[in-house]
Each structure stands twice: as C-alpha cells, then as structure tokens.
C-alpha cells in the first residue's frame, strides 16, 4: 500500500480521499452515491448485519481505509 495518494483530489481545498478522487468522474460518483445510499437506506437487511459484513470485508481484504 502506498503512503501517498495515487490520484489527486478533484475538489479544490480537499485532501485526496475516496470521494474527492472519485469526483474526477462526477457522473460515476453520482451514480455510486445513489446506489450506496439506497443500499444503506433500505430496511430489507438490518443495519447491524450490513455494518458487520462491511467491517469484516474490510478486515479480510486488509483495507485500513
């Protein structure tokens, strides 16, 4: 894993992060935002289950971000 971001921020005065890097592709960022928000906003699967699986997946893939 690199110690420095590999892409710049597309949002002025913001440090590079997932959102500001994705902002290089605004249409893609918007489409992702809608999908992810709908996923988290829906109640078919409870929040606790979603959060546990998200955290476990981050651990398994060794994603410290």
């Amino acid at each position: 894993m690199s110690t420095k971001p590999r892409v710049s921020s597309a949002i002025p005065e913001q440090t590079p992060n997932f959102g500001s890097a994705l902002a290089h592709q605004p249409g893609l960022a918007e489409a992702f935002g809608k999908l992810y928000a709908t996923f988290w906003g829906s109640n078919e699967l409870d929040h606790r289950t979603k959060e546990i699986t998200r955290m476990r997946n981050a651990r398994v893939t060794d994603c410290g971000f």
Partner: protein, 166 residues
C-alpha cells in the same frame, strides 16, 4: 442456479439482481456509465474485464463478449500471456498489469503501476479504470457466489443504464 424461483430471461445475472429492482436499476446505471459514456477507451475496459474473468475462472463473465470493442480473437487467445506480447499495445499492457492484480494481489499494486498508466491516460480515465476493475472483480465474485450460469453472449456492451446486465 436452482434457488431462483422466478422466471428467468436470457440474462440470469440481471434477473437475480432484479429481485431488488431498485438496487438493480441503480447498479445498471452505475456500471452502465462506464460503457455508455466510454469513460475509458472501450478496448481497454474489455481487455481488463476479460482478464479479470479469466483470473477468477468465471465462465459466465468470460462468455460475455463486447462485439464492438475491437478486441481480436488472437488477443483473446493470448490474453493469459499478454506481457511483452506485441499483440498488445503499451497502453493495453499498462492497464492489464494493473487489472490483473485487482482480484488477489490488490496490495501489490504499486505507484509505478499508476505512473505507467498515467503515461497513456488522463487522471479521470485512471480513476474510471480503477472503478471499472473493482466492478469487474465484484461482478465475478457475485456471479460465482450466486451460481449464475448462462451461455455465450455476444453483445453491443456488457452493461448500460437502459439494458440488462449481460
């Protein structure tokens, strides 16, 4: 795919996602944007998609072919051994080097991999390609986990906002 009881169309992966239609439609829009808007040259997208399918041994993803991506049969035959092969241009080799680390070697992606891609592609293109490779990887994992099977499919594009995911 024995567990899906609803009637299936010729696009079983799309059918499975359609059990949650609102999420399926938003996913179509997200994944489809890569292809609809050609955020990265389509030959690069297609080569990365196929190489990731090959690494996952995901037959259902592998069997989908983008008929207008400009990939030759010879390139497909040699895709496993692309490195240093003149059938693949320098930019194709650059993106393949990056893409094939996405499934199992994502921690081995280097700054140099990005610098090599940036020699050929703009920063927005590199961002789109990174998202694309993440989605190609995810699609293979979903297809395998859900046990979605289908026959060979030649299609204008693997996805689009207004079409079923192939």
């Amino acid at each position: 795919m024995s567990w899906l009881t609803k009637e299936q169309s010729e696009y079983p992966y799309d059918d499975v996602l359609g059990i949650r239609p609102e999420l399926r439609d938003l996913y179509r829009n997200f994944y489809g944007k890569l292809w609809d808007d050609e955020l990265v040259p389509v030959n690069l997208l297609e080569l990365c998609r196929l190489r990731i399918a090959q690494i996952h041994e995901c037959d259902t993803e592998w069997e989908v072919r983008h008929s207008e991506a400009g990939i030759s049969d010879e390139q497909i035959q040699k895709l496993q051994n692309w490195e240093g092969n003149q059938l693949f241009s320098p930019v194709e080799q650059a993106v393949l080097r990056f893409a094939e680390k996405m499934p199992w070697q994502h921690h081995e992606i280097t700054d140099k991999d990005f610098e090599t891609m940036r020699a050929h592609l703009s920063e927005p293109e590199v961002v789109a390609l990174t998202v694309a490779c993440g989605l190609f990887d995810a699609n293979c994992r979903l297809r395998i986990a859900l046990s979605v099977k289908q026959g060979k499919k030649e299609t204008k594009a693997p996805a689009g906002a207004e079409q079923a995911i192939r």
